[in-house]
C-alpha cells in the first residue's frame, strides 16, 4: 500500500520546520534559565525569528511550489507576508519586554514560546493549500493566543477576555469547519487548487456550494473581526494584557488576510459574485459600527479595537472589487491594494499599541485616553510620534495610512462602485474625529501626571523607527505597494 509515496520536499517549508524545532529547543533551554529577566530566552526567540527570515529569503524561488502532497504552498505572496510577519513579531516582542518584566505572572519563558507557536500557526495559515492545514494553522494560532490572554491570571478582566475569546473562537471555528465540510461535499476535494479546478469544470451543485460559502464567510468574518461577527474584539482587546493586545491586533491580521485570499480568491473565485455581495455588507457595516462606536470610548485599547473593526471593513473593500461582472481585469490591482492596506495597518497598529506599552509602568497601564493628556509637555518627541501614528490611522495625506486608503479607494472606483467609495470616505471622515481627539488631548490639555517617561532605550529607538516608518513609507509608498503587486502577480 502506498508504494508510490514520494518523500516530500522539505525545502519550501524550511522556515516552518526551523521555527518548530527552535520553539521546542527554547522550551527546554528555558527550564534551566535562572535569570529573572530571561534574557537568554528572549534573545533566542528573536534570533529564531531572524533566522526564519534569513531562511525565507534564502529558499525563496519566486515560483509557486507545492509540497507535502499539495497541502503546503510556497509562493511569493506567502514569502512576502511571512517576512512582514517575522518583522511584526520581532517588533511586538521588543515592545512587550519591559511590560512583561514589570508583571510577575507574565514574566515566564512560556510567553515567548507561545508567541513562537502562534507565529508558526500564522505561517501555516499563510502557506496553506488545503482546508485541513488552514484549520490546523488557525487552531494553533488561536490556542496560543487564548493562553497568552489568560496568562495574566490575577486580573479578572483578562480571565474574562480569555473566556470570551475562547468560546467565540470555538464557535467561529465551528462555522468555518461546517462551511468547509459543505464545500467538500459539493466538490469532493479539500485541496484549494483542486476545488478551483472542480469549479471551473462545472457540474457542481450550486446550492450546496452557496450553503457552505455562507458558513465559510461567517467563520472568516469572525476571525477578521468584522460586523456582525465583531463582538469579541472590544472585550478581548480591552481585557487582554496590553502586550498581548498588541500581538493580537497586529500579526494575525496578515494571516487572516492570507486565508481569505486562499479560500475565496484562490479556491472559490468562480463564486466571486456570491461572496463579494456578502463582503460588501460586512464591509459597510464594519466601517459604520466600528467608526461610530469608537467615538464613545474612553479607553484607548477599546477605541483601537473599534478602529481595528473599521480598518478590516475598509480592507475588505479591496477584496470585494476584484471581479466585476465576471471580468477579472481589476483583480490584481484590487487584491494588491488590500494587501498593502493590511501591511500598512499592521505597521500603524503595532506602533500605536507600542506607544501604550511605552507609557505603561509597573502597576500603571496607561490605556485610558486621559493618560495621554498633555503628553507633549512630558515628551514632545513621543507626542510627535503618536501624532504621526494617529494621523496615519485617520488617513491624513502623506502618511502610509492615507496611501493605503487611497489604493483601496481607487480599486473600488476602478471597479465602478462609486457609492461604495463615497460611503467609505464618509465613514473615514467620521473616524478621523476620534483619532484627532487623541492628538488634541496630547497637545492642548494639561497632563494628569507630570513624571517623565521611563522606557528603556531600545524601546524608544524602535517606537521612533516605527513612527518614522509610517511617515517615510507615506512619502515612498511605492516601495511596499510594488512589492505587494509583484508578489500577487507571481502568485495568482
Amino acid at each position: 500500500m502506498f508504494d508510490n509515496f514520494v518523500v516530500p520536499d522539505l525545502l519550501p517549508a524550511a522556515p516552518e520546520l526551523f521555527l518548530a524545532f527552535m520553539a521546542l529547543v527554547i522550551l527546554m533551554i528555558d527550564l534551566t534559565v535562572k535569570d529573572r529577566r530571561r534574557t537568554l530566552t528572549f534573545a533566542l526567540t528573536q534570533l529564531t525569528l531572524v533566522g526564519c527570515a534569513v531562511i525565507q529569503l534564502g529558499t525563496s524561488t519566486g515560483d509557486v511550489v507545492y509540497t507535502f502532497s499539495n497541502m503546503f504552498v510556497d509562493d511569493l505572496m506567502a514569502d512576502l507576508l511571512k517576512l512582514f510577519l517575522y518583522m511584526t513579531v520581532i517588533m511586538v516582542l521588543f515592545y512587550s519586554r519591559a511590560y512583561i518584566l514589570d508583571r510577575e505572572v507574565m514574566n515566564k519563558g512560556e510567553y515567548y514560546v507561545l508567541a513562537l507557536f502562534a507565529t508558526l500557526g500564522m505561517m501555516v495559515m499563510i502557506s496553506a493549500n488545503n482546508f485541513v492545514t488552514i484549520y490546523l494553522g488557525l487552531e494553533l494560532l488561536s490556542l496560543s493566543l487564548y493562553a497568552m490572554v489568560a496568562m495574566n491570571r490575577e486580573s479578572v478582566t483578562s480571565t474574562e477576555a480569555a473566556m470570551k475569546y475562547f468560546v467565540l473562537g470555538a464557535l467561529a471555528s465551528g462555522l468555518l469547519l461546517y462551511g468547509m465540510s459543505m464545500i467538500y461535499g459539493a466538490t469532493g476535494s479539500l485541496e484549494i487548487t483542486g476545488i478551483a479546478e472542480r469549479l471551473y469544470g462545472g457540474g457542481v451543485n450550486k446550492s450546496v456550494l452557496t450553503f457552505g460559502l455562507v458558513f465559510l464567510v461567517a467563520g472568516l468574518a469572525f476571525k477578521l473581526g468584522v460586523v456582525p461577527f465583531h463582538m469579541w474584539i472590544p472585550d478581548v482587546y480591552h481585557g487582554a494584557p496590553t502586550s498581548v493586545t498588541l500581538f493580537i491586533g497586529s500579526a494575525p491580521k496578515l494571516a487572516a488576510f492570507a486565508i481569505v485570499m486562499r479560500l475565496l480568491v484562490n479556491g472559490l473565485i468562480t463564486m466571486a459574485q456570491d461572496w463579494q455581495a456578502m463582503l460588501v455588507i460586512l464591509s459597510v457595516l464594519s466601517m459604520a459600527i466600528g467608526n461610530l462606536a469608537a467615538i464613545a470610548q474612553t479607553n484607548l485599547k477599546r477605541m483601537l479595537a473599534y478602529s481595528a473593526i473599521s480598518h478590516m471593513g475598509f480592507m475588505l473593500l479591496g477584496i470585494t472589487t476584484g471581479v466585476v461582472g465576471g471580468d477579472a481585469r481589476f483583480a490584481l490591482n484590487a487584491y494588491s491594494s488590500a494587501m498593502f492596506y493590511v501591511v500598512a495597518y499592521v505597521l500603524m497598529s503595532a506602533g500605536t499599541f507600542g506607544m501604550i506599552l511605552l507609557m505603561a509602568r509597573a502597576g500603571f497601564e496607561a490605556d485610558n485616553l486621559d493618560d495621554f493628556k498633555g503628553l507633549n509637555k512630558r515628551s514632545p518627541w513621543f507626542a510627535g510620534i503618536m501624532m504621526m501614528l494617529m494621523f496615519s490611522m485617520a488617513g491624513v495625506p502623506f502618511f502610509i495610512g492615507f496611501f493605503a486608503k487611497f489604493a483601496v479607494l481607487q480599486a473600488v472606483v476602478a471597479a465602478g462602485y462609486m457609492w461604495l467609495a463615497i460611503v467609505a470616505v464618509l465613514f473615514s471622515l467620521i473616524g478621523a474625529f476620534y483619532y484627532l481627539r487623541v492628538v488634541k488631548l496630547m497637545y492642548f490639555d494639561a497632563p494628569l501626571d507630570e513624571s517623565p517617561l521611563t522606557a528603556a532605550l531600545d524601546m524608544r529607538i524602535l517606537i521612533s523607527a516605527n513612527g518614522l516608518a509610517v511617515a517615510l513609507l507615506g512619502i515612498f509608498p511605492q516601495v511596499i505597494m510594488s512589492l505587494c503587486a509583484y508578489a500577487l502577480l507571481r502568485s495568482l
Partner: protein, 198 residues
Amino acid sequence: MDFQTLVFFFLSAILIVASLRVITARNPVHAALHLILAFFTCGGIWALLQAEFLAIAIILVYVGAVMVLFLFVVMMLDINLDRIRQGFWSYLPLGAMLGILMVMEMGLVLGSKYFQVPAADALMPAGVSNTKSIGALMFTDFVYPFELASIILLVGMIAAIVLTHRGPKKSKYTNPNQQVFVKAKDRVRVLQMPVEKD
C-alpha cells in the same frame, strides 16, 4: 428486513433514547452515564458502516478517557441543577422556535437530491481494512497536518501548565540536623537597651 437493518434500528433506538436522557436526566451523573451509552451505541453504528477504526476510537477515546474524566468532574463539583434550570421554560418557546426554523432551513438544503448518496457507493470494497489505510495515509499524505496536530496538543499542554502552575510550594519542614547543631545564641538574642527613667 435483513439482519443489518434490524441491528441498525435497534442501535438507533438506544442512541435516541440515550441522547434524550442526556439532556433530560435530573442527576448529572445519570446524564453522563447516558452520554457514555450514546457514544458506545454510536460506535456500534459506525462498526455497522464498516468504519471500524472510528468505532474503536470513539470507544477508547470518548468512553474510555474523556467521559471518565467528565464523570470525575461531575462528581467532584457540586452542581446545583435547579439553579441552572431556572428560566428554562420561559426561554423554551423562543429557543424551540429558532431551533425548528434552523432545522427546517437546513433541511430544505440538505434534503435536496444532491445529498442522497446511494448506499452502495458508500460501502467499502471487501478486504480493505480502514484502520490500515488510515494509518498509512496519516504517515504519508497527511504527515504535515498530523505533525501540526501534535504541536497543537503540545501548545495545549504548555497552556494548561502556564495557567495553573503556581511554583513549588514552600512548605514548613524541620531539619533534624539543624536542630541538633543549634546554639543558644541562635535562639536567644540579648539586647542592650538604655534604662528608662521616669
